[in-house]
């Protein structure tokens, strides 16, 4: 049976390259935007606030916000790239070609999610490089740092993919990132350690999944975390599994893909 036939790698590559094509076509914009926004964050947060908050856990404030800044972009970029990537062909009708090609759902996901994750990782690295212009970087656990970068990008690209399949209009496409993800990220300790919060808000923060991501990522940089790394990893893995389950369900049933 062809279900067990070897993977259709040329198709994965075709989708991946097609999706990356959009990124490179607008390379100027794709690269300039994160550079500018990072610079702005450094000007506003680093200079304005950093001059009052000198250090968090012995880490200078300007340096302290670097992991949070990267996470902020990683989450929003992963979700918006992946959701737009699959929503657009559905909207334009070009999805017919994907549906009628000899491709398994796994290959479709690899192509789209792989490209979305690649783009957001690239942007994350651009932000890291831009930060180096403002503060002397320090990364205690570089391998873990890359590991978290990958895991987060893949997980949230998968989440974006689910949103792109579920959305039946451009408003819905933007709804989840705008109403859920951005607030959670801002409240997730991008610009402060949650230990700085009063006890009540500290407790509330712990139900915010983004807290675990940022905490773990910050640990990879400075060796200090708000919550344990094991819990962070577990939470991220759990979310990854949930997204995988949703994608599998969608392809099994053809929900929002086939009539």
């Amino acid at each position: 049976m062809s279900e067990t036939m070897s993977m259709n790698w040329p198709a994965v590559r075709a989708i991946y390259r097609f999706e990356m094509g959009r990124f490179w076509r607008t390379a100027g914009q794709s690269i300039l935007a994160p550079v500018i926004s990072t610079t702005l964050y450094f000007v506003v947060f680093g200079a304005a606030i950093g001059s009052r908050v000198s250090a968090v856990d012995d880490v200078p404030y300007g340096l302290f916000i670097v992991p949070g800044l990267i996470m902020l972009s990683l989450l929003t970029q992963s979700i918006s790239n992946a959701s737009f990537g699959i929503y657009f062909p559905r909207f334009a009708g070009t999805i017919y070609e994907i549906l009628s090609a000899p491709i398994s759902p796994l290959e479709v996901v690899l192509g789209f999610v792989g490209a979305a994750a690649s783009k957001s990782i690239l942007i994350g690295l651009i932000i890291l490089a831009t930060s180096a212009l403002f503060v002397p970087l320090r990364i205690d656990h570089p391998v873990w740092m890359i590991g978290f970068l990958l895991l987060t990008a893949v997980t949230f690209s998968l989440f974006g993919f689910v949103i792109g399949l579920w959305a039946d209009g451009f408003e819905k496409l933007q709804l989840v990132p705008l109403l859920v993800v951005t607030p959670l990220t801002f409240l997730g300790g991008s610009f402060y350690a949650i230990s700085m919060l009063p006890p009540f808000w500290h407790a509330v923060s712990l139900i915010n999944p983004v807290v675990y991501l940022i905490s773990a990522f910050r640990w990879a940089f400075f060796g200090k975390a708000d919550v344990s790394i094991a819990i962070s990893l577990g939470m991220t893995a759990l979310f990854l599994v949930i997204c995988l389950g949703l994608v599998t369900y969608i392809f099994r049933t053809g929900y929002r893909l086939k009539s």
């Binding site: 049976m1 062809s2 279900e3 036939m5 259709n8 790698w9 040329p10 198709a11 590559r13 075709a14 989708i15 390259r17 097609f18 094509g21 959009r22 076509r25 062909p89 334009a92 009708g93 070009t94 017919y96 070609e97 994907i98 549906l99 009628s100 090609a101 000899p102 491709i103 398994s104 053809g254 086939k258 009539s259």
Partner: protein
């Protein structure tokens, strides 16, 4: 073995609308099959099920012996689809989008093959143009190029000539014939009867989700062909004489023409009787000619007939 076998295929959309009910159809290897039917008959639904875009409610389809669900990779690999809607990636170039299609079907890049296709479709000069800068007819050609990029054994053309000018239509027909020469099976849907008449080996008529007829084109023309006998009268007459009312004659050309429609299938055409009757009524004619009715008339007749019965 037919290249496509469709058995007891039905489709009810989630809206509750039944677009196909109990379709049985076999497409022979290497033939050109035209699927004719009025708007909403279910032509696109049928094609989209075979291609994997729409899920059937029940029934089975095999393509070259491969079940479209259980063995979808092998089944789809054999198929090229040119959809009814002109959907293209606006920002892509012609060459990229066609190469992309080939990749999707799991084939290694083959620039020579792509170049051949683009040249055959007069798209080579446009290979670096973005799709949004192309005209509708050129976009249609791009969709055909995409479908041919992976060297399919079966090509579906869902209304390939809708909104296409005469020249492109001729080009397309030539292309379809070339493909048949190479052994490709072509299934096309159309509203243009002359397309089916000119192109197809066999014709299927679908109406309200049911196949009401499948026939060799020639046999269909013979079997259902009606002929018209037109008589040019020497002098105009004000009305058809009552004694000739049985022939259901039509008066045309300001009373100078009598038109008699008869069925070539009938044992007696009634022509002899008519001529005798005319002589008896003192009507003289100066000339006469007969005309075979077109497939269009047959088709319209068939669909009407079905409707009055339904």
């Amino acid at each position: 073995m037919p290249i496509i076998s469709i058995s007891k295929l039905s489709k009810t959309y989630t809206s509750g609308f039944t677009a196909l009910s109990g379709i049985d159809l076999a497409i022979e290897r290497g033939e050109i099959f035209a699927l004719l039917g009025p708007n909403g008959a279910g032509k696109s639904t049928l094609i989209n099920i075979v291609c994997g875009i729409v899920t059937p409610s029940s029934g089975t389809v095999t393509v070259d012996g491969h079940d479209i669900a259980a063995d979808y990779r092998a089944a789809r690999r054999a198929i090229g689809l040119v959809p009814q809607e002109l959907t293209t990636d606006a920002f892509e170039t012609v060459l990229n989008t066609v190469s992309f299609s080939r990749g999707l079907f799991g084939l290694r890049p083959d620039p020579a093959h792509i170049e051949r296709i683009l040249r055959a479709l007069s798209l080579w000069d446009k290979r670096d143009s973005r799709l949004m800068t192309l005209s509708g007819g050129m976009k249609r050609r791009v969709l055909i190029a995409k479908a041919l990029s992976h060297e399919p054994r079966v090509l579906f053309l869902d209304e390939p000539t809708a909104g296409v000018d005469v020249e492109l239509r001729q080009d397309m027909w030539r292309l379809v014939r070339d493909l048949r020469q190479q052994g490709v099976t072509v299934i096309l849907t159309t509203h243009y009867i002359e397309e089916a008449e000119e192109m197809a080996d066999r014709i299927g008529v679908i109406r309200r989700g049911q196949i009401i007829l499948v026939e060799e084109k020639a046999a269909l023309m013979r079997k259902l062909g009606r002929k018209q006998l037109t008589l040019q009268l020497q002098a105009p007459i004000p009305a058809v004489p009552p004694e000739l009312s049985d022939y259901e004659l039509a008066l045309a050309g300001d009373g100078r023409e009598l038109i008699y429609t008869y069925d070539t299938r009938a044992e007696r055409t009634g022509i002899t009787g008519l001529l005798t009757g005319l002589a008896a009524a003192g009507i003289q004619f100066s000339d006469l000619h007969t005309e075979q009715s077109s497939l269009e008339d047959i088709f319209v007749g068939l669909v009407r007939e079905g409707e009055t019965r339904a």
